[in-house]
């Protein structure tokens, strides 16, 4: 890195042996007397499986979100003014349409592609997903065209739902109609991807690094000191906070790796994945925050758990699998467990949103410049309904959306219409996508 009296280039990196750390947006990156550049808009889809208990999710009335939110949204009360709950979006391609059983496989495979996926375990076929259409167009502007994150299962073959390949339930992003983009599950792998030089360290190298307790930041100390000396107090503080957040992620990683124990023998977890769901989510979402903050990517998909998962949640006292609970057939005891799981997920989301909101970007927050779509490919998981999909849009998409409300569109409004709207906002206007009938009417959202 070379520091001059001029403004810093937006693409400034702190470099060291085996390490590259991108920087967040700093005031010094704005040339003197120039207007501050507009921060980029970032888009993330955060997907939860098996539907959501809609009675405890939907705000009944259109308009401003009420003071008292439904139970599952309660953890998000601090973000009431940052989110729009959208009603009646439908994914018709997730329905059987003559293909019989397999709603979980279909709803995930079609969630971002908008097409009816081929019922097969071998010659999979979907379509390019909307996040990848965006990544193809704007991905060259960032180090990573997109990031795909996940939490519990990366199998790409086999039958995961009534004849549907695991490729459908375990991926959200599709590069083409036959090429899904598997999510990264292991926080260490994600960390190395974000801050390494692209060289995958051997387990021995990783051990060596751990043994000497060396932080990735130690490898870029020289560049860091040089940069700090050239920054004003505000930027110095911003940089320190940013580097601290990376250090914190490292500490969490080290802790997870040290404590790596398989508390759930039913799960196939890579080494180093924290046994605790919340810790795992925090690590992954913290790194996504850093990736957004440092403009390493502007597009991400995050499969909180794979569609149809039977994961248990012992950390909140639920030993039954998530999927069996959703087929409650009206039994209150099981319904309560579903609600608890749904609420647990929104609690994790709240933690991430708090993080995004705490980071300043010019006059607003990083969250303001984001469009975080939180939702599921089924509404009622018991009846496998594909209409009125639970959907939250969080953030302002860069001063475009006016959050803090509940917006209900007409029944059967294609989810693909929403995707067209999001692609537009990302600067990638597309005329046709999936089963869209047009863009969402922007008036209620803006």
């Amino acid at each position: 890195m070379i520091v001059t009296g001029k403004s810093l280039p937006r693409r400034t990196f702190l470099k060291g042996v085996g390490a590259t750390v991108a920087l967040p947006f700093l005031d010094s990156m704005v040339p003197a007397f120039a207007a501050a550049p507009k921060a980029p808009v970032r888009l993330a889809f955060l997907y939860v499986p098996n539907g959501i208990d809609m009675k405890n999710w939907n705000v009944p009335q259109e308009g401003a979100l009420p003071a008292e939110l439904p139970r599952i949204l309660k953890p998000l009360e601090a973000f009431r003014g940052d989110m729009i709950q959208i009603g009646n979006l439908t994914n018709n391609s997730g329905r059987a349409l003559l293909d019989g059983a397999g709603d979980h496989g279909r709803c995930a495979g079609s969630y971002l592609t908008g097409v009816q996926v081929k019922k097969t375990t071998i010659d999979i076929k979907a379509s390019i997903s909307c996040d990848q259409i965006i990544a193809n167009k704007i991905g060259h502007q960032t180090r990573f065209a997109s990031l795909e994150l996940g939490m519990d299962d990366s199998r790409q073959a086999g039958d995961c739902d009534s004849g549907y390949s695991c490729a459908y339930t375990n991926n959200l992003a599709w590069r083409s109609e036959t090429q899904p983009l598997p999510p990264v599950l292991d926080p260490r792998v994600l960390f190395e991807r974000l801050f390494g030089t692209g060289v995958i360290l051997s387990p021995e190298d990783m051990d060596r690094r751990a043994r000497y307790r060396r932080s990735i930041l130690d490898f870029v100390t020289g560049d860091t000191k040089k940069l700090q000396s050239s920054l004003g107090p505000t930027d110095r503080r911003k940089l320190e906070e940013y580097l601290s957040s990376i250090r914190e992620v490292e500490r969490q990683l080290e802790k997870a790796e040290k404590e790596s124990v398989q508390i759930d023998p039913g799960m196939d977890k890579p080494y180093g994945v924290p046994p605790d769901f919340a810790e795992h989510f925090k690590l992954m979402s913290d790194m996504l925050t850093i990736a957004f903050q440092a403009d390493l990517t502007r597009v991400s998909t995050f499969l909180m758990t794979r569609e149809g998962t039977s994961r248990s949640y012992r950390e909140i006292g639920i030993a039954d699998g998530h999927h069996p609970c959703t087929h409650h057939q009206g039994k209150q005891e099981l319904i309560d467990k579903v609600i608890q799981i749904n609420e647990y997920h929104t609690k994790q989301l709240a933690g991430w949103l708090g993080n995004l909101k705490s980071i300043k970007e010019g006059d607003c927050s990083l969250l303001d410049n984001c469009m975080i779509v939180y939702g599921a490919g089924l509404s009622d998981g018991n009846r496998h309904l594909h209409e009125d999909l639970p959907t939250l849009l969080i953030g302002r998409g860069g001063d475009y959306f006016k959050p803090g409300r509940r917006v209900i569109y007409r029944k059967e409004t294609p989810m693909s219409n929403f995707h067209l709207t999001l692609m537009d906002r990302m600067g990638v206007p597309v005329e046709n996508f999936g089963d869209a009938s047009g863009h969402l009417d922007p008036a209620p959202l803006t």
Binding site: D103, N382, R410, E412, T413
Partner: protein, 341 residues
């Protein structure tokens, strides 16, 4: 009618033909009778009503559609029925567009009918446009759930809503694959005055006849006049239902007794039983819509259009089907299981 997209499996035996009915339930009593007739044909497992949509962006029209459809789904009427508005299983389609205010007052009278106890006789789950689906999307979505060639669309009203399907991405091949034919209850054939259903919506009708990808069979007003629904049936055949929205709408539509011209019923009967000799059919040709709303049929061997001709020899047979099907009691509902694992 629910969003019946789980009912058929690709390898399963083909069910009876599915009919998507798009009608002007605000202005045409035959469109309301057509809903009743489809119920009767469903009860006899001769057809399935796969979707119901109204042809104009009218909330009252959507509400009457919902009330009638709800009645045949077994929604309670009158008395303590206040809570039944919560039933939202049925979905009613309605075109996009500014609200149309030309609903006939008698339909409003039907919707506002009270029981002797003073409670609403009928309740609709639809209180605003968000309670409805855009008709083109609803019809497209439900067509996709049908076996190839095992569906037909019956249009008994303006074309605006239906023609929107043509603009949906990839809809052309989808319609061609799923929809055997479109039966349009409008126009006059081989010549005659402009039918209001076309005259008030000329641009959309022109586009429909010019661009619709499947065969079209038109049922002109002359067929409706030749085979009217007998008003006497209203007086005698519905004793099983002291409160019946179709009966109330019929009575409110015009001073009784009257026989209602019913091209929509002919359209439904032909769509379900095209080969049963109820009607005669013109030679193939092309139907064009003129600027003043009149229709012009030009014979052509390779034409995709035909029009229906009432056969006097079949009149009694046709009317017997009309009355027995329209006055049929609600079809038994298929069992509802969980939709796939």
């Amino acid at each position: 009618m629910g969003v019946d997209t789980q009912a058929q499996g690709r390898g399963a035996v083909r069910p009876p033909i599915g009919i998507a009915l798009d009608g002007d339930l605000g202005n045409r009593i035959d469109a309301i009778l057509a809903v009743a007739m489809l119920n009767g044909l469903t009860a006899k497992t001769e057809a399935r009503r796969i979707s119901l949509s109204v042809s104009r962006p009218s909330l009252a029209s959507a509400q009457i559609a919902d009330v009638v459809a709800g009645f045949y789904r077994g929604r309670p009427v009158g008395g303590s029925a206040g809570g039944v508005g919560a039933i939202t299983e049925g979905m009613i389609g309605m075109p996009e567009g500014p609200a149309s205010g030309n609903d006939t007052p008698p339909l409003a009278a039907t919707l506002s009918r009270k029981t002797p106890e003073g409670t609403p006789a009928y309740t609709s789950a639809i209180s605003g446009p968000v309670g409805t689906a855009e008709s083109a999307v609803l019809i497209r979505n439900l067509l996709l759930a049908q076996h190839d060639g095992n569906a037909a669309i019956v249009l008994a009203g303006p074309s605006t809503g239906l023609v929107r399907i043509l603009g949906l991405y990839r809809s052309g091949p989808q319609i061609t694959a799923k929809c055997k034919q479109l039966v349009v209850a409008a126009g006059s054939f081989p010549a005659g005055p402009a039918d209001p259903a076309i005259r008030n919506d000329v641009a959309a009708a022109k586009k429909l006849f010019a661009e619709w990808p499947t065969p079209i069979v038109a049922v002109g007003t002359e067929v409706g006049e030749a085979l009217p629904y007998p008003g006497a049936s209203i007086e005698t055949d519905f004793a099983w239902a002291p409160v019946h929205p179709v009966v109330d709408a019929y009575r409110a539509f015009k001073a009784m007794p009257y026989d209602a011209p019913a091209p929509a019923l002919a359209a439904v009967l032909y769509a379900v039983h095209p080969d049963d000799g109820y009607f005669k059919l013109s030679d193939p040709g092309t139907i064009a819509v003129l600027d003043d709303g009149r229709t012009r049929f030009t014979p052509a061997a390779d034409g995709k259009h035909r029009y229906l001709i009432a056969d006097p020899a079949q009149k009694d047979r046709v009317l017997a089907v009309y009355t027995s099907m329209v006055s049929a009691q609600p079809a038994p509902r298929p069992g509802r299981g969980r939709a796939g694992a």
